[in-house]
């Protein structure tokens, strides 16, 4: 107790040196803690969003892009695929669940996903207000999306073609919000979810728009913009199927808005064996019946069809490796700060040892043993280290929470500072080690001090 109090008194008696050293260590500590927390939550969020999805089937292209666009809704889709071809794989006995996705539109930068009710089950998303959609142009809104857009049950809105806003608005057909989802902490919170038919209806109408003979053509006065949008966004109209058949399709939709009707319609489309007129989707999310499917199914899809199959687990780890390089770089910077702090602490303790060598000699004269002097000086370094670490860990968490709130407002991604990552425990131990190392040499010098010679100097 005597030595702890003495160590504290010595630290307090040189406040500038002590606080600079503690701050330096705190700075390094908080940067590393911040990166640990962010990296952990990033990886967690990514794997939570992909949980229950073993394979994504979509148009050929970059597999990372396919995963990003169809699971994280963060990139533009790779293109469209024929529903018929996708369903061929969906019916494969190795597949337990297949969820089709049709992407391409948004509302206030919130992406609209055309899909089936299975998509809600992938994320265990429950409707907390209203109900699930029944037919075309009915939509449910994710929790964060609802908060951001102020959409609620009964709201009417028009989807915008493309993801960045400002493109062609589908104002000829309005969506009606029929339900709002509860918070899941996954990507679905930031989405508007509707039936596949809704997307087909809108994009069927668009194709209509190209046909001068279209009776339902209203409000399409911006043809050039419209075309641009198509090129950029791999729209349904990008494929080169006949206009007649599409008119057919659109007519069907105009006539029957019901789900069941549409099923008939699909069957009808399925009759066309050439597949050039079939309905299209953007991607299909598959989960395996058996883990063994991972061995054969992706390879078969990639080699036997015009489709691309990408495994989220593989692509996520590839992505995290890429991100990881950046995080590692930042973390290395944090460690540079820590080492600097360690050296600075060493210099400070060593300097203070030199300045106080007569006091230390006097302590020996007063009855202190060499071991006690060693402990006293080591305590001084460790106390400062512990202070710096505590400040740094606290700072890292507070900054993470502040960043998290800022990012959540801007991006809808949920990051928090109020979690504890196991790696932080290891970090604290390593940092204490750095402090102990920095204190050990001055403490050792104090231990071996020649009291008689020191006193003769003075």
């Amino acid at each position: 107790m005597t030595w702890l109090r003495l160590a504290w008194a010595n630290l307090v008696s040189s406040p500038l040196t002590s606080s600079v050293n503690a701050l330096l260590l705190a700075l390094g500590t908080s940067s590393i803690v911040l990166l640990l927390l962010a990296g952990h939550q990033l990886a967690n969020t990514m794997s939570r969003d992909a949980a229950g999805i073993d394979l994504v089937v979509g148009a050929k292209g970059s597999p990372v892009q396919l995963i990003l666009s169809s699971i994280y809704h963060a990139d533009v889709p790779t293109g469209n695929i024929s529903l018929e071809e996708a369903e061929h794989w969906a019916e494969d006995p190795r597949v337990a669940r297949a969820v089709p996705l049709s992407l391409g539109d948004s509302y206030q930068n919130i992406r609209i996903v055309g899909t089936t009710h299975d998509y809600l089950d992938v994320y265990d998303a429950d409707v907390v207000a209203g109900r699930r959609w029944d037919g075309a142009m009915e939509a449910v809104v994710g929790a964060a999306a609802a908060r951001e857009t102020n959409l609620e049950v009964g709201s009417i809105f028009a989807g915008v073609h493309g993801f960045d806003g400002g493109l062609h608005e589908h104002d000829e057909r309005m969506y009606e919000v029929v339900g709002v989802l509860g918070r899941t902490g996954t990507v679905i919170d930031r989405l508007i979810v509707t039936s596949l038919e809704s997307v087909w209806v809108l994009h069927g109408d668009e194709d209509h728009g190209h046909d001068p003979s279209d009776d339902n053509h209203e409000g399409h006065d911006d043809h050039p913009d419209h075309d641009d949008g198509h090129d950029e966004h791999n729209d349904h109209a990008d494929h080169d199927h006949g206009h007649d058949e599409h008119n057919d399709h659109a007519d069907h939709e105009e006539d029957h808005h019901g789900h069941d009707d549409h099923a008939d319609h699909e069957g009808e489309e399925g009759d066309h064996d050439h597949g050039d007129a079939s309905l299209e989707i953007t991607a299909m999310l598959l989960s395996y019946e058996t883990p063994l499917a991972a061995v054969s199914l992706p390879r078969e899809i990639n080699s036997l069809s015009a489709l691309q199959a990408a495994a989220p687990a593989v692509e996520i780890s590839r992505l995290l490796q890429l991100v990881g390089v950046g995080l590692d770089g930042l973390q290395a910077f944090g460690w540079v700060l820590v080492v600097t702090a360690g050296l600075s602490l060493f210099a400070a303790l060593y300097g203070s040892l030199r300045a106080r060598r007569f006091e230390l000699a006097m302590l020996r004269c007063l009855g202190a043993t060499r071991l006690e002097l060693f402990i006293g000086l080591a305590l001084e370094g460790l106390l400062l280290t512990a202070f710096g670490i505590a400040l740094g860990v606290l700072g890292g968490h507070v900054v993470m929470e502040m960043l998290g709130q800022w990012i959540e407002q801007a991006q809808g991604v949920v990051l928090t500072g109020w979690i504890w990552v196991p790696a932080e425990g290891t970090l604290v131990l390593v940092l204490l080690g750095v402090g102990a190392l920095a204190s050990a040499i001055p403490a050792w010098q104090a231990y071996h001090q020649d009291v008689s010679r020191t006193l003769s100097e003075g």
Binding site: T2, L6, A9, N10, V12, S13, R356, F358, E359, A361, M362, L363, R364, C365, L366, G367, A368, T369, R370, L371, V451, S452, L455, S456, G458
Partner: protein, 219 residues
């Protein structure tokens, strides 16, 4: 004086050698509790070396050295440290008060390091007697030299040592202060029944203590 006078210091044929250029020989010196001795001689004659030998900070080459009945030869470094803390009080010319804590804590610390029960009331009384009670919460750096020396004397006596060692306690002081300091050392060591050994080249000390040992004359 107690019925049976305890030996505070016994030296017989003590020699010490440092490298080849310095050696010290002390044929004989005995000091009982309550007695005082001035070890005098010019600079460099080995006065401070003798004080360090007695304090157990240096190890003699040969001869007999007994401090309060103890021989250091058989003791470990930390045993000597503890023994020194419990039985000796030392006042150096430079006082080496700990700058980070108050003068009161400086004195309390000495009591703790002597492994004696900490008794703040007793320290207060000591401060009263030395006329420094008003300074107890001050830092050493704010004191005058005379005040600081009183604190150093309090620190050397707070644990009631059996032998008080003083190294050039008056050399840096003017006549009035030197006289004060010497008076204090004599009175206070007597008040706790300690033997007093003063090492000095200061002529003003001559004739003030019970005995005198001139190391310069021995060489």
């Amino acid at each position: 004086m107690s019925e049976k006078t305890q030996s505070a210091l016994d030296i017989d044929g003590l020699t010490f050698r440092y490298a080849s250029e310095f050696s010290l020989t002390v044929p004989s010196l005995s000091l009982s509790s309550g007695q005082s001795v001035a070890v005098i001689g010019p600079s460099g004659c080995g006065k401070t070396t003798l004080l360090h030998l007695i304090a157990g900070l240096l190890t003699p080459e040969s001869g007999l050295l007994s401090v309060c009945g103890q021989y250091f030869g058989s003791m470990s470094t930390s045993e000597v440290d503890r023994f020194r803390g419990q039985n000796l009080g030392i006042v150096f010319q430079k006082l080496h008060l700990l700058s980070a804590i108050s003068v009161f804590d400086n004195v309390l610390l000495a009591q703790r390091l002597a492994r004696k029960p900490v008794d703040p009331a007793n320290v207060d009384r000591l401060f009263e007697r030395l006329g420094i009670a008003a300074l107890k919460h001050k830092r050493p750096s704010t004191l005058s030299l005379g005040q600081a020396q009183r604190v150093a004397i309090a620190r050397a006596l707070v644990h009631r040592p059996r032998l008080l060692l003083a190294d050039e306690p008056t050399s840096a002081l003017d006549d009035a202060h030197a006289n004060d300091a010497l008076e204090l050392l004599i009175e206070e060591s007597a008040s706790v029944g300690a033997a007093l050994l003063v090492v000095t080249h200061d002529e003003r000390v001559r004739g003030r203590l019970d005995m005198e040992l001139d190391l310069g004359a021995l060489r």
